[in-house]
């Protein structure tokens, strides 16, 4: 048995033992996301527009992660809507920044990997860089949206008549509780993954100026910053989505009640 198969099966067993049906869903969402990412990559190699492929993949990934992750159907729906808005806002931020920073493709540190490869590609690597940045934020968007929506759903379950203003404040309170630890998830996730590059920098004694203008490092730090921005704007947007949803539900309920009394 290959190592990946063994680890994957172990993860499945652990998830099902600890989380039951929900564990199975979590494992399936990971499998689906891998498939979506790989499929998107193949489509890009077949010259489909990378950014368009990424947007479609992104919406699918958010849907799968959020609907297979959460329990309560109302809060997952709100989380999904909010995450789509966050995704679109991020795209608006990522495209100009990537045009400005010009971190597409490979840096001089990659030359060993590129040996013997043809770089006559015919695919715009700036688009690939934009797609990479968008894809790397998807997990963070989904996680933050679920956390806020679920936190607010719990508050609503306990206090069904909470004033909408207080509900909004509660959203920011839940946000302030998750932001510190979520930032660390992102920080360690990215910097752990790029430990080798940092060791390279330290070993070859790059100057600060070289590091701050290095193609690969700037690209990587931009991805961390995009993900952090995603989490930051997910907090007010998910809160706002929940408040709007709740307001409409209440208005609807009120209307039904009024109609009842008229009869």
């Amino acid at each position: 048995m290959g190592t990946i198969t063994a680890l994957g099966l172990l993860l499945l067993i652990a998830m099902v033992v600890v989380g039951g049906g929900q564990g199975l869903q979590a494992w399936l969402s990971l499998l689906f996301n891998f498939g979506a990412l790989f499929f998107a990559m193949v489509l890009m190699a077949f010259h489909f527009s990378p950014v368009l492929v990424t947007l479609i993949t992104g919406v699918m990934v958010l849907a799968m992660t959020i609907f297979l992750g959460g329990n309560d159907s109302n809060s997952t729906l709100v989380a999904f809507y909010a995450s789509i808005i966050v995704l679109l806002l991020l795209v608006v931020m990522i495209i100009p920044v990537e045009h400005w920073a010009q971190i597409q493709g490979f840096g001089q540190e990659d030359s060993e990997d590129l040996e013997g490869m043809s770089t006559v590609l015919g695919i715009n690597y700036l688009d690939i860089a934009i797609s990479t940045a968008i894809l790397s934020t998807l997990g963070a968007i989904a996680e933050a949206a679920i956390a806020i929506a679920a936190g607010l759903a719990e508050i609503l379950a306990q206090h069904p008549k909470i004033p909408l203003k207080n509900l909004q404040r509660a959203g920011f309170k839940v946000g302030s509780q998750i932001i510190g630890t979520t930032f660390n998830t992102l920080f360690f996730g990215f910097f752990g993954g790029f430990l080798a590059l940092f060791i390279w920098f330290a070993g070859v004694h790059y100057s600060l100026g070289q590091i701050l203008n290095d193609k690969i490092l700037v690209g990587e730090v931009l991805m961390v910053l995009f993900s952090m921005t995603a989490v930051i704007i997910t907090i007010p947007l998910t809160t706002w989505a929940t408040v709007t949803w709740e307001r409409q539900t209440r208005q609807h309920a009120l209307k039904l009640k009024n109609e009842d009394t008229k009869k």
Binding site: T132, G192, V218
Partner: protein, 380 residues
């Protein structure tokens, strides 16, 4: 930090406006970075006009087609001894821009100068990216402080502190030639966790329990990974595909995995233990068993999204290389093995850590807090 709180209490004005103030100062700093050319020893050219010299079609043995463009960049040197000197620099790039890059008016580039028979000429060495980086960092920090205020500031402080520690550890690793990379980063993982939790939670019993669950969960996942590695003889683990390796790849890979999953495991144990503590305050007589069950419920909800966060971080950035492999007529399987393989393995190991942290965090909390004869009660 304390000073800030005291001052905040003293003055409502300061309390209200400090995020805006930091945003303004940060904006000035970004402006400063945009005019920092004098700080560089490498000569910088500001491009004032560009001119396409030639365009020709290129193709390779895999029937890929691209365009090679040669351009001339006219501009002025903005720093150093040749400041003010006008210069024309040639640049050749591929339209796909995977390893080369085209430039246009207004951009700044670093130059390598050549002196030939008293004549000054130059070639492009790199593009100046620091302003774009500073601007994006400023944007993120501004949003963070304006929207999340004090909790945002604390999150920022913990990231900065961890960043400094991380760099110190990397330097230390370099002085030891990478011989004890696992010891350094394993040990530092504990220090990272302790420091972060101190900043986020403060020093108390809850912090100690969270620390124990975090370190325990990460350690267990690595031990399980090592056990699986020895059973499967690391079949299908392609260390040779690891990028930027300057030392022995296997311990480096494990160190990367420890650090990568640490944040997520910490995130999760903080969530579970904080919720269980709140539950305990609400219902003081809750039994250990009930505590364990609700912890499992909370953990089950967050584990899926968390594993996916790490998966996208670990695997998405292999996309450019994977597309390159596919365009070089490699099979899907080979492309996967050479690019995504290690990222997927890291995600799976971290995933196992994230899942097993749930019973660990619940167990620790219910032992310490639950029931009538819990350790927490005995101590009182």
């Amino acid at each position: 930090m304390l000073k800030k709180q005291e001052r905040a209490a003293q003055s409502g004005w300061w309390y209200r406006w400090w995020p805006i103030l930091i945003v303004l100062i940060g904006g000035l700093a970004v402006l400063g970075v945009a005019h920092d050319d004098q700080l560089y020893q490498t000569p910088i050219l500001k491009i004032q006009s560009t001119q396409v010299v030639s365009q020709e079609k290129q193709s390779d043995q895999f029937q890929n087609e691209d365009q090679q463009i040669t351009q001339k960049l006219h501009g002025t040197i903005t720093n150093g001894q040749y400041q003010g000197r006008r210069l024309t620099v040639p640049n050749t790039y591929m339209r796909s821009q995977s390893t080369t890059q085209g430039f246009h008016t207004g951009q700044k580039i670093f130059l390598t100068l050549h002196h030939q028979k008293g004549k000054l000429s130059a070639t492009v060495s790199d593009y100046k990216r620091d302003v774009a980086l500073a601007f994006t960092a400023w944007l993120a920090v501004s949003l963070l402080l304006v929207l999340m205020r004090f909790s945002g500031l604390m999150a920022l402080v913990s990231v900065i502190v961890n960043g400094v520690l991380f760099w110190l550890a990397v330097s230390w690793n370099t002085t030891t030639q990478g011989g004890i990379v696992l010891v350094i980063f394993g040990g530092l993982a504990v220090a990272f966790a302790a420091l972060t939790l101190l900043i986020v939670i403060g020093f108390n019993q809850q912090m100690l329990m969270t620390l124990l669950a975090t370190v325990g969960g990460t350690a267990i996942s690595i031990l399980i990974a090592l056990a699986v590695f020895s059973v499967t003889h690391e079949k299908g683990v392609y260390y040779e595909s690891m990028q930027y390796v300057t030392q022995l790849p296997r311990p480096l890979f494990l160190a990367e995995t420890i650090l990568g999953s640490l944040g997520a495991v910490m995130d999760e144990s903080t969530d579970i233990i904080a919720s269980l503590m709140a539950l305990k305050t609400e219902k003081p007589d809750i039994s250990a068993k009930q505590l364990f069950a609700s912890g499992r419920q909370i953990g089950g909800e967050i584990m899926g999204p968390l594993v996916n966060v790490l998966f996208f971080i670990f695997v998405a950035d292999t996309l450019p290389l994977a597309v390159l492999y596919l365009k070089n007529a490699n099979s899907w399987g080979y492309t996967f093995n050479m690019t995504m393989n290690l990222g997927v393995i890291q995600s799976l190991i971290s995933g196992i850590g994230i899942v097993l942290t749930i019973p660990l965090a619940c167990g620790i909390t219910s032992l310490m807090m639950g029931g009538k004869f819990s350790w927490g009660r005995l101590r009182r």
